[in-house]
């Protein structure tokens, strides 16, 4: 990796976006999941009238509040970066992003200024049921707020519901429903929020285990572990299920990413899913990209074919098929896509020239092409390929994606086991006796964050070199600014976010040590 890292504007802009997104995502998933766990706990309080549940709810609400407050608005920095570092991209997608992000902004404002305030200030001031409703609305609202961001992100991976206007050089939404119900958006939303639920469940079980290790707040800890264990197990199974449906969608809309995740170079039927494996450079090259063999492999035969096609003997294209083309399987070569993309770009160039000359007839003829289904489906959809010099440039970093995916999935199954053990030991009333489990649960907290971040690394590194799949590569998206300016803000963000994270951890640790108020 390091030999490929240069100080160019594109790489610094990418590094800065990655840094801010990774830090932002340290705060978000806990909010998504813990809000629902709180809602369940408070529901138990309202239904049973047991003051213990109120005490438990208020304790976890404190930790929720610390995380929520420190993390709030950290995502806005990403929007700053769009305008400064990624201006071509921002302009190109502006109309598509505008609607979901505006809805998110309005929703977040009302959510944060009203129902979060009732959650924290409303104990004993509003009725129990109104307070409970506010807690549920915060949970639902926080997750719906994430929906709009994920819809925008999904559009970048599968651009739908828009038409390109050559006069303004912008994509304009022509179907809000296609953008919202984009299959990538649906899969992404369900997979992402349920992964947040898993992280929050691991967090609750881990902190509760610490209390049991210290022989403090045993009742709070046991009840919290039980609630989080059940919620976590259901969520982790949902993550596995939505991961499967995501894979099916991914194989259709981002086949290169899918093949890279499996380090699958040669297409095949009866393709097995590699559970464990190590990549080894076999000396072969696709252009300047290394080809890897998967060594020490443990695989489940036919599963990759089944996940992709619904049949264990289905054909899964490899990277060589996708780069060189495979006419028997109806796969276009990247060289052909580059040709088609160049034609689309030539039409756009002709439009620009006609506009400069004031040739209205030519402008009208050329503009009509961008609304013509044949041109859109066969040429404009490959627009971004026109910027490549070599077909191999569309291959992302296979080792990064291959390993990140496996560690993420492995941790996902580890968490399923953790939740089952938590429920099992709780029901047998043996949590305190299994101290190894308590320590394991405590040290699983950072693993949950690791798995969550790795998911985004697979998603975002896997779709390189695209910022918008097939339409715009990252090098076309950047602004014409100095790399030095981006470096400066990169380090400013590194300091700012590290300070925020340090503040969060220190306040949270102090509050955990204090424990619930009696």
């Amino acid at each position: 990796m390091i030999e490929n890292f240069d100080l160019s504007l594109v790489n610094w802009s990418r590094a800065q976006f990655a840094l801010t997104a990774i830090y932002h995502w340290l705060f978000v998933p806990l909010t998504l999941g813990l809000s629902f766990i709180l809602a369940f706990m408070e529901t138990l309080y309202v239904r049973t009238g047991d003051e213990m549940w109120k005490k438990i709810t208020k304790f976890w609400m404190t930790l929720f509040g610390i995380n929520f407050a420190i993390g709030v608005a950290t995502g806005i920095i990403l929007e700053f970066e769009f305008g400064t570092n990624w201006s071509n991209y921002s302009w190109f997608v502006g109309d598509i992003f505008g609607a979901p992000l505006a809805v998110e902004g309005i929703m977040a404002f009302f959510l944060e200024s009203t129902f979060v305030a009732v959650m924290f200030f409303g104990w004993n001031k509003v009725s129990k049921k109104f307070h409970l409703a506010s807690t549920w609305l915060v949970a639902v609202g926080a997750n719906l707020s994430a929906l709009w961001i994920l819809v925008a992100n999904a559009w970048m991976e599968n651009p739908v519901g828009m038409v390109f206007n050559p006069d303004t050089a912008r994509n304009e939404m022509n179907s809000f429903s296609q953008v919202i119900f984009n299959p990538v958006a649906v899969d992404k939303f369900l997979h992402t929020v349920t992964s947040g639920f898993v992280l929050a469940s691991v967090f609750v079980i881990g902190i509760s285990s610490w209390f049991l290790i210290r022989k403090r707040e045993e009742m709070l800890a046991r009840k919290s572990i039980y609630i989080a264990g059940i919620f976590g197990l259901i969520s982790a199974l949902a993550v596995a299920f939505t991961g499967d449906t995501s894979a099916r969608t991914l194989a259709k809309v981002q086949p290169v990413k899918f093949a890279a995740m499996e380090a699958l170079y040669e297409g095949k039927t009866d393709a097995g899913l590699t559970v464990i494996g190590a990549l080894s450079d076999n000396g072969e090259r696709i252009g300047e990209k290394k080809v890897h063999d998967v060594k020490m492999k443990i695989e489940i035969p036919g599963l990759l074919s089944f996940m992709t096609t619904g049949r264990s003997d289905g054909y899964v294209p490899g990277l060589k098929d996708l780069i060189n083309g495979n006419p028997d399987r109806g796969i276009l070569s990247v060289a052909e896509m580059m040709e088609r993309g160049r034609y689309a770009r030539q039409v756009l160039t002709d439009y620009k020239v006609a506009k400069e000359l004031g040739d209205n007839d030519s402008m009208a003829t050329l503009a009509a092409k961008f609304e013509d289904t044949d041109f859109i489906e066969n040429y404009f959809r490959y627009f971004g390929y026109s910027y490549f010099e070599h077909p191999w440039q569309v291959i992302p970093s296979v080792p990064v994606i291959f390993y990140a995916f496996r560690v993420m999935v492995g941790l996902g199954f580890f968490f399923i086991l953790l939740f089952i053990l938590a429920i099992w030991f709780h029901r047998r009333r043996t949590l305190e006796r299994n101290r190894w489990f308590l320590w394991l649960a405590l040290f699983s907290i950072p693993l949950a964050y690791l798995a969550s971040e790795l998911g985004w690394i697979v998603t975002e590194m896997g779709r390189q070199p695209w910022i918008i799949q097939n339409l715009m590569p990252v090098n076309v998206a950047v602004s014409n600014i100095s790399a030095g300016a981006v470096q400066t803000t990169f380090w400013l963000f590194a300091v700012l976010f590290t300070a925020l994270l340090t503040a969060e951890i220190s306040i949270m640790v102090k509050q955990i040590k204090i424990g619930p108020k009696h």
Partner: protein
């Protein structure tokens, strides 16, 4: 039925009491929120993150023409 004035007064008292009786961690995170928002909007946004197209072009037509040039001229 409360009058609008009473409702506004009640909402004000709700927030006022909430902030007044806030716990130590609540006060601390509010300080962090305010410092963070100050740094983000009054330092980073203004001095480090100008909107490239808004700063360099005066209207949407110029911005569109510039991006069109970038899209057609970039290799």
């Amino acid at each position: 039925m409360r009058s609008p004035g009473e409702t506004i007064s009640m909402i004000f008292r709700f927030y006022y009491d909430g902030f007044r009786t806030m716990s130590w961690w609540g006060k601390r995170v509010w300080v962090i929120i305010l410092v963070k928002l100050f740094i983000m909007f009054l330092i980073l946004r203004i001095f480090f993150f100008p909107d490239f197209l808004k700063v360099n072009f005066s209207n949407d037509r110029e911005r569109g023409d510039y991006v069109l040039e970038q899209l057609t001229g970039n290799n």
